[in-house]
């Protein structure tokens, strides 16, 4: 089955991203297709490469990146939400004259249309948030 995932909270403060990760991993292991994981609201913070958690804690961002690498997951950060919260890719860095870019491997910034499209294409959409 084709599943869409929406993550509405950032890492660490709320469990939403952890739950979404474990769900996604289990779905992939069972042979389901993850059409897209869409990060919205503070959820875009799951895509910052600048995360450096202590060594004895999980690295939520890296974990998503690795899962994307292994399974070709499409991890999308909402551009409007990302701009508000300081998530910047190379294009956005140039366009807005920022000092750096911080989108982690496996993530891309795109529009809200990607969320709607996931709703249309996937058999189920599961929302994780607060």
């Amino acid at each position: 089955m084709k599943l869409g995932i929406m993550v509405n909270e950032g890492p660490y403060t709320h469990q939403a991203s952890d739950s979404a990760y474990h769900f996604t991993k289990a779905a992939l292991a069972k042979g389901h297709e993850i059409y897209r994981v869409f990060f919205y609201h503070d959820g875009v913070q799951n895509g910052t490469d600048f995360t450096t958690p202590p060594q004895d804690d999980r690295n939520v961002v890296k974990r998503w990146s690795e899962l994307a690498g292994e399974h070709g997951l499409d991890l999308v950060l909402c551009v409007a939400a990302a701009q508000r919260r300081g998530l910047v890719d190379e294009d956005e860095q140039k366009r807005h004259g920022k000092t750096g870019h911080n989108v982690a491997p496996g993530f891309r910034i795109s529009g809200l249309g990607q969320l709607i499209e996931a709703g249309i294409q996937a058999d189920r959409l599961v929302v994780f948030g607060d």
Partner: protein, 138 residues
């Protein structure tokens, strides 16, 4: 029909008050973008979500944009099925008169102006959820 395929029934459920958190505002942004995809869209306001539609908000003092003015434009985007949990209104001491009057123009009836808002009870809400292909929660 959208480019992506057959029309699906999309329901946006709003259960949170405005301003205290950003969910209401960013939910509306999804609805506006989603309107371009020509799906069968409904909005449901329940619990504290009904506070989003209170009219005459003055946000100057808190330094935030009054995004709720955009609700009045939803009819122009062909988003005209707006359901409000009547029990949520009553519990909060509100009536329809406290809310924005949202309308749309029906092109099949010579652009007659019609109400977008429908008050619903628990059984209608349960049926509404059952009918959907996709539910977005904010």
């Amino acid at each position: 029909m959208s480019e992506a395929g057959a029309t699906k029934k999309f329901l946006y459920i709003n259960r949170k008050a405005p301003y205290g958190t950003i969910y209401a505002w960013e939910s509306l942004e999804v609805v506006l973008i989603g309107a371009a995809f020509e799906q069968d869209v409904s909005l449901l306001f329940m619990d504290d979500g009904v506070y989003q539609l209170v009219k005459e908000m003055q946000t100057k003092g808190i330094g935030m944009k009054n995004f709720t003015a955009t609700y009045a434009a939803l009819g122009d985007y062909e988003v005209n099925k707006i359901y409000i949990d009547k029990d949520a209104l009553t519990e909060r001491g509100l009536t329809l008169d406290d809310l924005q009057h949202l309308v749309w123009e029906d092109e099949n009836e010579d652009w007659a102006e019609k109400d977008s808002i429908h008050l619903v009870g628990r059984d209608e809400i349960a049926d509404l959820l059952d009918e959907q292909d996709v539910i977005f929660n904010f």
